[in-house]
């Protein structure tokens, strides 16, 4: 991508990138409704993996909506499991109505389809075929007219092809025929002999029913929503597999700026120039938009964890331009499920990391000037990013020698690695150079490149008694060093336990940690460091799964970022990201602006009032933040007309933050039902009777003469549930 260096063009480019992202809903073609025929014309309808164009159908009834604009992102979608059609926008008699959910009476026609089955006259090509708990992909079957058992038509009965081995019948919900017509609900008689080719099966699916689906949503997303929970209930562990395969929503490309903030902003007409080009603000806002609405929930949760392990902070920046942070956070998203060795490589050679921890332009020792190599990256890559300061057993417990911990590395090892990490510089702006003969100025796209003349080629001390041979190039030394780190037995327990703590529980059992270490060491196919396997193992471990939790020491405090996004998702929020960014910083978690490389909370912060339990996120709970959080809940629940924050006039494309508690308001006629539903939706029914009783009393205290009784009852109950300590704990 060609980068623009003039300011005006850069501003226009930034606005052009922000604007469609924020206003994308307005850009999709709306449906049109024809009342006399009760027909809805849908330009694009998504059913499972199939994208149907020019669909005409008749509508049964309205389930919910319309709501105030803006429309939710995306095209219309139909869920065969619920028979519900979701319509972001429909025009009727000159007005546009947004976010309608309706039932379908009948399908009239489908113009064309892509991404569904197709028949070429001899073979059926099926993207997905589900057989019991397995899903086969790219299936090719021979079929003829004689294979057809029936063509039922109507709205597709399933999201993907279903094969029943007992009956030998294959249900094809949507298929494009050679004549260009689209048929629905075609049943074929198929035997094993008809199979031409198939990929898979995908991993066996373990069901995750009922309340456990909510628990997984709390662990692996930014907060349960009814749609997400339904999806997990229907897909089971297949949801995790699908998430592992979901590409990142990601961050819009940002202008690469070489000027200093002082000179760039001296002539910028953007009154918020520093904020928009040299602070983490644009990246933060996009993070929150993605977290609240993006489909790659698990990837984003893992990237959030990585951003707190492999820390790069904008706060200590000397005004490093914002595109550097954008590129770094995109890297963490892209590599979320990559192999750990790859992550080590990409983080080490990231120019943003090179700037933050001083590996960029770090020189070998200069005896004439009396200067030693910089130790910053060497120390932190070992202490924080990989092995930790003390030797660990596979179960995460420290190795003890005569009752004392044993250090993983000595100062000599630090100095050895410091010398390894010499002779690297920023990429060149053209991006094509693979090495340099002198140091490059700061440039944050691409990977750092070697400057051999600045590289220390002496023998260097690494971990586990390994030394590098002298005379190696910068890249050869680097690869040897990263292999040395990667192969250290500490990495599995050190990184594995941190990820368990970020996703599931602060105090995993020794056995849990051991199981995850084992997966890190070998994913089952002989591969070490397979983070996709590690993440899935963490979430599917028996200590993570199950409908009920009985251990009093189980669980974790939600970090402010996840707490606030969970509330926004529960409240059907639409946001440009500015409000959640502001409040989470006030609650102690200023995203991408950690004060130090040790991130927001000490990993071993003790839980008050227990023996041997840690609760890192608890360190953020203070008098000041506890009260601040009550005020956030108050704002979210009691916002007039659901407007939590107005659009910021200085932010192009801003939509502010709006919420809705509409799904619960109809239940307010029966306070007991309302409270029970909130307990179920938001706390998977973990409130004790005394707690629901207390909320019920408060709801019932509202006078029957209240002009907005239903809304006020809902708000009172919602406030109490969200403000309660139970909401802030994931267990």
């Amino acid at each position: 991508m060609k980068f623009i260096s003039t300011q005006r063009a850069a501003r226009a480019a930034l606005a052009a990138l922000l604007l469609p992202l924020l206003l994308s809903a307005a850009a999709h073609a709306t449906d049109t409704y024809n009342p006399p025929a009760a027909q809805l014309v849908v330009p694009t309808l998504q059913i499972g993996a199939a994208t149907c164009s020019n669909v005409v159908l008749t509508v049964g009834g309205i389930v919910s909506g319309p709501t105030a604009p803006p429309a939710i992102a995306g095209v219309d979608s139909y869920d065969p499991a619920t028979l519900q059609l979701t319509v972001p926008g429909v025009s009727l008699a000159g007005s546009v109505y947004n976010n309608v959910v309706a039932t379908v009476r009948a399908l009239v026609s489908i113009g064309s389809v892509s991404g569904a089955d197709s028949y070429d006259g001899a073979n059926l090509h099926a993207p997905y075929v589900q057989v019991a708990n397995s899903v086969y992909t790219n299936v090719v079957l021979q079929a003829s007219v004689g294979s057809i058992v029936r063509v039922a038509g109507g709205m597709p009965l399933a999201a993907r092809d279903q094969y029943n081995p007992a009956t030998g019948q294959l249900l094809v919900p949507v298929v494009a025929a050679p004549d260009g017509r689209v048929y629905t609900n075609v049943t074929l008689a198929v035997t094993a002999a008809d199979l031409v080719s198939a990929a898979g099966p995908a991993p066996a699916v373990t069901p995750i029913p009922g309340v456990d689906a909510q628990r997984l949503a709390e662990q692996a997303s930014f907060g349960p929503t009814p749609a997400l929970v339904t999806q997990i209930q229907s897909q089971g562990s297949g949801w995790i597999d699908a998430q592992l395969a979901t590409p990142p929503t990601g961050y819009a490309q940002m202008t690469a700026i070489v000027d200093s903030s002082a000179s760039y902003c001296a002539t910028s007409p953007d009154a918020k120039c520093f904020r928009d080009y040299f602070s983490a603000f644009p990246v933060q806002l996009q993070f929150f938009r993605n977290a609240v609405g993006g489909p790659d929930q698990l990837r984003q949760r893992v990237a959030l964890a990585y951003s707190q392990i492999f820390v790069v902070s904008q706060i200590q920046a000397n005004a490093r331009p914002a595109y550097a942070m954008r590129n770094y956070q995109q890297l963490l998203l892209d590599d979320a499920f990559a192999n750990f060795r790859q992550i080590l490589n990409d983080v080490t050679l990231s120019p943003a990391m090179g700037s933050y921890l001083n590996m960029a332009n770090n020189s070998k020792a200069n005896p004439a000037k009396g200067i030693s190599p910089n130790e910053n990256y060497a120390r932190e890559v070992l202490q924080l990013f990989s092995v930790g300061p003390n030797l660990l057993n596979a179960d995460g417990s420290p190795v003890l020698s005569q009752g004392l911990t044993v250090p993983t590395y000595s100062q000599d090892t630090i100095e050895g690695f410091a010398s390894i990490f010499t002779g690297w510089t920023y990429p060149s702006a053209t991006g094509s150079a693979t090495s340099a003969t002198s140091y490059n100025p700061a440039w944050y796209t691409g990977q750092m490149i070697p400057v051999e003349s600045e590289h220390d080629t002496t023998q260097k001390q690494l971990l586990s008694g390994v030394t590098t041979p002298p005379g190696q190039s910068a890249a050869a030394d680097l690869n040897l060093a990263l292999d040395n780190i990667f192969s250290h037995p500490n990495v599995g327990p050190f990184i594995g336990r941190q990820l368990i703590r970020f996703l599931v529980t602060s105090n995993p059992s020794a056995a849990y940690v051991s199981r995850i270490t084992a997966v890190f060491n070998n994913d089952g196919t002989g591969v070490r460091g397979n983070m996709a396997a590690v993440i899935k193992a963490i979430l599917m471990d028996p200590e993570a799964r199950g409908a009920t939790v009985t251990g009093t020491d189980y669980g974790k405090v939600r970090e402010p970022v996840v707490d606030v996004t969970a509330m926004l998702r529960a409240l059907n929020a639409l946001t440009d990201g500015e409000y959640p960014n502001y409040v989470t910083a006030n609650l102690g978690e200023p995203l991408f602006n950690a004060e130090t490389v040790f991130s927001f909370y000490p990993p071993n912060y003790p839980l008050d009032g227990s023996t041997t339990l840690v609760a890192p996120q608890f360190s953020l709970v203070t008098t000041a933040t506890a009260i601040a959080r009550l005020n956030v809940v108050n704002t979210l629940v009691y916002a007039a007309n659901g407007i939590v924050a107005n659009p910021d006039p200085t932010l192009p494309g801003a939509i502010g933050t709006t919420v809705s508690s509409a799904p619960w308001t109809p239940l307010a006629a029966s306070p007991a039902t309302l409270v029970a539903q909130l307990n179920s939706d938001l706390l998977h029914s973990t409130m004790a009777t005394a707690e629901t009783g207390a909320i019920l009393t408060a709801v019932q205290a509202l006078p029957p003469t209240d002009a907005n009784l239903a809304q006020d009852r809902t708000r009172a109950a919602l406030y109490l549930v969200l403000a309660s300590p139970r909401y802030l704990i994931t267990r």
Binding site: N358, Q383, V557, A690, E691, P703
Partner: protein, 479 residues
């Protein structure tokens, strides 16, 4: 090598503390923030004159004390300049500051052969009026060593602090001292455990910079106030239904018999609400406005804002406006001292902020009449290598220099401790890059402060278990 993972040792008397907090939560059941006259009259334990407070200013990241206090005698300055690679500019990558009396040079401290970083004229002036003491080469130790060589010859891991040069470990040990096993209380928290608290009072430990281990005791939990401004919760009116909702919220704070996480969080939320009510009359923007004029850099300095907040609370506690113990320890902090690169540019504004803020704080205390009741002192993770590192910065080191500021009624202005020999690889250096073996321990530093605060000898012994390993428990800079 004593530290295992930080696991919480059993905290005694949690239940009694929770009961006390629950009482606090019961204050101010009125929806509107209670006015002063509605608070029950409480005999303040802080009778005029008997109130004393320590204020810890923690410089997170490891302040390069070598450029904060610089020798000004010709031999000392020559050794300093040589080891720092010569006269430093942001471009040449070495770190020496200009000599006293030259442009941008160190600021001489009268009566000594030392000078301050050029960015600290306010502290130079405080020195001139007898308001500052310097403590040289203090750091974490388990027991003393006679020289760097003796330290290097030691083979018993139990004799030395764990994981030297690691931020996390050294920050922690400056707050807990270097004890065996897992330590989950800070030395000031242990002192706080021995301080009696009147009914419904704020705790001895108060932080304006978030939760901090220094102030955590076995029973004592610090109060954390925001950097600026009041603590107030919104959304409740005097109506019956609103009060019913508030009452329900309080009862929800008591939930969680089935989960230690839920119950601990509920207790924290409950005490937060109690403190919000208690502090409502004192922690106001008006109270800060009355004092912030003492801080020229208030708008841009979070340290100045934190110290203003502390001054407001000291005034409230010492005057009896809120119930308070007679001994308190406050915590404020400044970040970004981890100057691995571009040190000359990065450290200068930090030390300027430190100087201006500490001076402003002293003036604010004078304004409210409590300058004689407060001693302010600095701490930091560790010092930094005297020898520069590539990129114009320095790496992690050990023994550091610190400042103590107070009124002449309490402070015996002067230099204390033993200034290191600035020879790289010399008798003070445990490496080849200028990492000083401390000649004074954090235990001795803290014990001197604690004795002035009013802690008894047994309480000091409990707070500083390693103190017995050192020859003196009082360094003499406080009366």
């Amino acid at each position: 090598m004593k530290k295992t993972d930080l696991h919480l040792a059993h905290r005694c008397s949690l239940q009694s503390r929770r009961q006390a907090l629950a009482q606090l939560g019961g204050l101010g059941a009125m929806a509107m923030l209670p006015s002063l006259s509605l608070l029950p009259p409480v005999a303040s334990a802080a009778a005029a004159g008997s109130y004393r407070a320590l204020v810890c200013v923690f410089l997170f990241g490891g302040n390069d004390g070598n450029n904060m206090i610089v020798p000004t005698d010709s031999a000392g300055y020559a050794a300093y300049l040589s080891a720092r690679g010569g006269l430093g500019t942001p471009a040449n990558g070495v770190l020496g500051l200009p000599a006293a009396g030259t442009a941008g040079g160190v600021l001489p401290l009268t009566g000594t052969s030392f000078g301050l970083h050029p960015g600290m004229p306010e502290l130079q002036s405080l020195w001139g009026s007898g308001n500052m003491a310097l403590l040289f080469n203090v750091g974490c130790l388990v027991r003393p060593f006679s020289s760097a060589a003796a330290f290097l010859a030691n083979t018993n891991a139990a004799n030395v602090p764990t994981n030297l040069y690691s931020h996390a470990d050294q920050q922690q040990q400056m707050q807990t001292t270097s004890l065996p096993g897992v330590t989950t209380t800070g030395w000031a928290g242990r002192l706080a455990d021995a301080v009696s608290m009147p009914s419904g009072s704020v705790p001895p430990g108060v932080s304006a910079d978030g939760n901090v281990l220094l102030l955590a005791g076995s029973a004592s939990i610090p109060l954390v106030v925001p950097t600026t401004g009041p603590i107030a919760y919104n959304g409740f009116s005097g109506s019956t239904s609103s009060q019913a909702r508030l009452s329900a919220l309080r009862s929800l704070f008591g939930a969680g018999a089935d989960s230690l996480f839920v119950s601990s969080l509920g207790a924290a939320q409950s005490s937060a609400m109690g403190y919000a009510n208690l502090l409502a009359p004192v922690l106001s923007t008006a109270a800060a406005a009355a004092l912030q004029g003492n801080f020229p850099n208030y708008a841009n300095s979070t340290l100045s804002q934190q110290l203003t907040q502390v001054a407001v609370l000291i005034q409230a506690a010492a005057s009896g406006a809120i119930p308070a113990p007679s001994q308190q320890i406050f915590f404020v902090a400044l970040n970004e001292f981890d100057t691995h690169n571009d040190q000359l540019n990065r450290q200068a504004p930090l030390l300027a902020d430190l100087s201006s803020s500490i001076n402003g704080f002293y003036n604010a205390l004078t304004q409210v009449g409590y300058a004689d009741n407060v001693v302010t002192f600095t701490l930091s993770d560790f010092a930094r290598t005297l020898k520069p590192a590539s990129g114009g910065g320095s790496d992690h080191a050990w023994g550091n220099h610190h400042l103590i500021v107070g009124s002449p009624a309490n402070l015996k202005a002067g230099t204390y401790g033993s200034f290191p020999d600035l020879t790289l690889g010399g008798p003070s250096d445990v490496s080849g890059e200028g990492r000083w073996l401390p000649t004074t321990s954090i235990d001795q530093y803290g014990a001197t402060l604690a004795a002035w605060l009013g802690a008894s000898s047994p309480a000091i012994g409990t707070a500083f278990p390693n103190l017995v390993n050192f020859p003196t428990s009082s360094l003499g800079f406080l009366t």
